[in-house]
Subunit: 209 residues, 2 copies
């Protein structure tokens, strides 16, 4: 950290550096234990200077959470592909890997104290809105029309993927590939349920499995 | 409330009364704004007596949350029926109606400050565990074997139902019946996805819908 201490940075770089240090620290401890003093120390700046960039501790924490959410959204950005199911698979593989690599950060944000803070929750909700919008944009490519049911199913599907991934990290009883398969297949399955396709009677087919 | 003030209650009744008053108050304001003084006033007991039943404000809040969760679980207890899909529909109708009737309480607990508290979160997780177990117990009746994938899908489904119901309450673009249909159909749909049934190729069927 000595090298960092001596570096002169312009304000935008300094701000980004402080947020980045905070985000890294988040992998090791919950947000509420990240103090402004620790970050100032690591960055080689005074506590006063840190408050020049962030008016309060909670504003700094919010900036860290926004940064983490943007990072996740960048990692899971859908690439253009001719096969919408391949696009979906690639997005979900990136999501599962991002959450795995950042498990402490991600799980502590979504299932920790931050989830009870109204401003933090707004960031998570906006992030989910972007994920839902991206997903809805892909649906016409697999022949599905956007209806209020389908929109609700997609919002629910985001929650499904989040919960399945976090549960899997806590007790990984299946492989990474199997988890990705489950999250990929669940989208058309839920979209079918949303347009009124009755899977019930077909379940008999599976008794031999 | 005057009638209540004068009533002599045995300790178990008094404890239940205090929790019940707290749970009712929860419909009007978030948990963190429920003060011990208000409850003591309404029950006609001294603040000191309230602390005789609950060692701290947070212990009192926790008792309120446990009470609400138990109430929801009671309302959504599956009744024995020959048709497992009818049982599922009746459970989900009860769930949607419970959440609708207790929308302030339920949404503020699951999506409010309480969701950031480790002990509260444990209560919510235990509640979801019970819902998942009840669901898993029904699955053999529709021909599904319990596998790690199916277990994960059921946990994710609980999150799906919770999120779809809360989103629907915020912006009800479909009817109560349509929401119940969606949550009912989503379970076999997700269970199918979990056993590796590929819904993708069948989506073409829906283009005419």
């Amino acid at each position: 950290m000595d090298a960092v201490k001596r570096t002169r940075l312009d304000p935008a770089q300094r701000r980004a550096q402080l947020i980045d240090l905070g985000a890294r620290m988040l992998a090791e401890r919950p947000l509420e234990q990240i103090s402004v003093e620790d970050i100032a120390d690591q960055a080689g700046v005074s506590r006063g200077l840190l408050f020049h960039y962030f008016a309060s501790k909670s504003e700094f924490h919010l900036a860290i959470v926004r940064h983490s959410s943007e990072q996740m959204l960048q990692r899971t950005e859908p690439s253009e592909s001719d096969d919408p199911m391949l696009t979906l698979r690639s997005v979900l593989a990136s999501y599962v890997d991002y959450v795995t690599e950042n498990r402490n950060t991600y799980v502590s944000l979504l299932r920790g104290t931050a989830s009870g803070d109204p401003q933090m929750r707004e960031v998570f909700e906006q992030t989910r809105d972007i994920m839902a919008k991206r997903t809805l944009d892909q649906l016409p490519k697999i022949g599905l029309t956007r209806t209020p049911q389908v929109e609700l199913a997609v919002r629910g599907w985001i929650a499904f993927v989040e919960e399945a991934t976090i549960s899997w990290l806590r007790a990984p009883a299946i492989t990474r590939e199997e988890l990705i398969d489950l999250t990929v297949q669940s989208l058309p399955a839920l979209a079918l349920a949303a347009v009124g396709f009755d899977a019930g009677p077909d379940l008999g087919l599976l008794q031999s499995n």
